[in-house]
């Protein structure tokens, strides 16, 4: 297969195989800054691939970005692929991204929950969880954003294996979660943790498992508002900014609470378009506008991280 051809349609939804093929293509086409790493495998033994954007150096400070932990939120996996291409093409062209990558690495997990993603394509478009088997239950899967070791099992997560917000038998029980935790802990120098979800247009910071303000509340709130303003500047899409608890509802075991409590100050969760007309079925024609505006918000945060070492 000709790896130099560029036939991937960023304005369409794709199967997991197509996305994974495009990761190879990006790593091949932009081999000077992009490489593909496998950080583990899913419950059903699918690889978990991360794209590493780096200009060299060892153990540089890094930004973590993931998408698709809730499998049905298809616009997030699609946006992540667009963002991967954007980072690769902007390096050397956009002074801001160039200076960022000359100082830091970016790790991008485009499909955090590959089993769930395949299941949404083959069996149930509305599937949100992993596909692990739950002992003693006929129901499958754990909500991987209730499975992190952050107030695990507390309010806003279900103990019922049949629920869409089932927290799982123990923190990190899901290999998809455990793989990310191990990767970030082993890396040891991740300075920002950004996660993409979709539906309802929110930009949130910790906490979700408790309704108290994080120590860095003022800075995170101001940065979140600046990012939301950048998002709005392109197409007028409005994001609500706040902590998970005050913005939506109390929810325990979430990823950004774990990252924040483990010393990653700049921890944010994005909820991309839309506000209800399509739900998780955002038309493909909106993928690129969504990715474009999201990129502006991400860039605002990443620039702040670059300029605010801690």
């Amino acid at each position: 297969k000709d790896r130099s051809s560029n036939s991937f349609n960023f304005g369409a939804y794709h199967t997991l195989d197509e996305i994974y093929a495009e990761l190879d293509h990006l790593a091949s086409q932009y081999s000077n800054i992009v490489s593909k790493l496998q950080i583990g495998e899913s419950y059903e033994k699918r690889p978990l691939y991360v794209l590493k954007f780096s200009t060299g150096g060892s153990n540089r400070p890094a930004i973590w970005l993931d998408a698709g932990i809730h499998s049905r939120e298809w616009v997030t996996q699609a946006s992540a692929i667009w963002i991967a291409k954007k980072i690769a093409t902007d390096y050397g062209q956009d002074p801001s991204i160039t200076s960022l990558l000359n100082k830091m690495d970016i790790f991008l997990l485009t499909v955090s929950n590959p089993d769930g993603y395949v299941f949404t394509h083959t069996t149930n478009r509305m599937w949100r969880k992993t596909r692990s088997k739950n002992k003693g239950s006929v129901c499958f899967g754990v909500d991987p954003n209730r499975n992190w070791d952050a107030g695990f099992g507390g309010p806003g997560a279900s103990k019922n294996p049949c629920s869409d917000s089932y927290h799982g038998p123990s923190a990190n029980s899901e290999v998809e979660v455990r793989s990310v935790v191990n990767f970030i802990k082993n890396h040891g120098n991740v300075r920002a943790f950004l996660t993409l979800h979709s539906y309802s247009q929110l930009l949130m910071y910790p906490y979700g498992y408790k309704c108290t303000e994080p120590a860095d509340y003022a800075e995170l709130d101001a940065l979140g508002r600046a990012a939301a303003s950048s998002i709005r500047s392109l197409y007028g899409t409005t994001f609500t900014v706040g902590s998970i608890c005050t913005t939506i509802y109390q929810a325990s075991g979430g990823s950004i609470d774990w990252s924040y409590d483990n010393g990653i100050k700049y921890s944010f969760a994005f909820e991309l378009r839309d506000t209800g007309n399509y739900g998780f079925l955002l038309p493909a024609s909106q993928i690129i506008p969504t990715a474009e505006e999201t990129w502006l918000g991400l860039k605002k945060i990443m620039e702040h991280v670059r300029d605010s070492p801690y």
Binding site: N9, I248, G279, P283
Partner: protein, 93 residues
């Protein structure tokens, strides 16, 4: 392949904490197989919920009996899914 013919997505607007509590009760009724896209939290935040076709009437009756305001966001989810599938097939061609 699981289909969603007749599934509706409702947007529910609550006016006070009491109505939020009613929705939290609705959320706990597992036999209705509701899929909350936005869970009940505070009166300021609307609730979006996917309701299977055979439970649409029961849920609407529940809401109406308590005078809770709602609107239909998606009339038939399968219609939207079919459109999405068609778009993907077109793209693959």
């Amino acid at each position: 392949l699981q289909t969603f013919v007749g599934h509706q997505v409702l947007r529910i607007k609550t006016r006070n904490e009491e109505e939020v509590k009613k929705l939290q009760l609705l959320e706990s009724l597992e036999h209705l197989e509701l899929d909350f896209w936005r869970n009940p939290s505070t009166p300021a935040h609307p609730v979006d919920v996917r309701v299977p076709a055979n439970n649409v009437q029961a849920v609407k009756a529940f809401l109406e009996s308590y005078g809770i305001e709602y609107s239909i966001l998606i009339e038939d989810l399968q219609v939207v899914l079919d459109q999405e599938k068609q778009d993907m097939e077109y793209n693959q061609q």
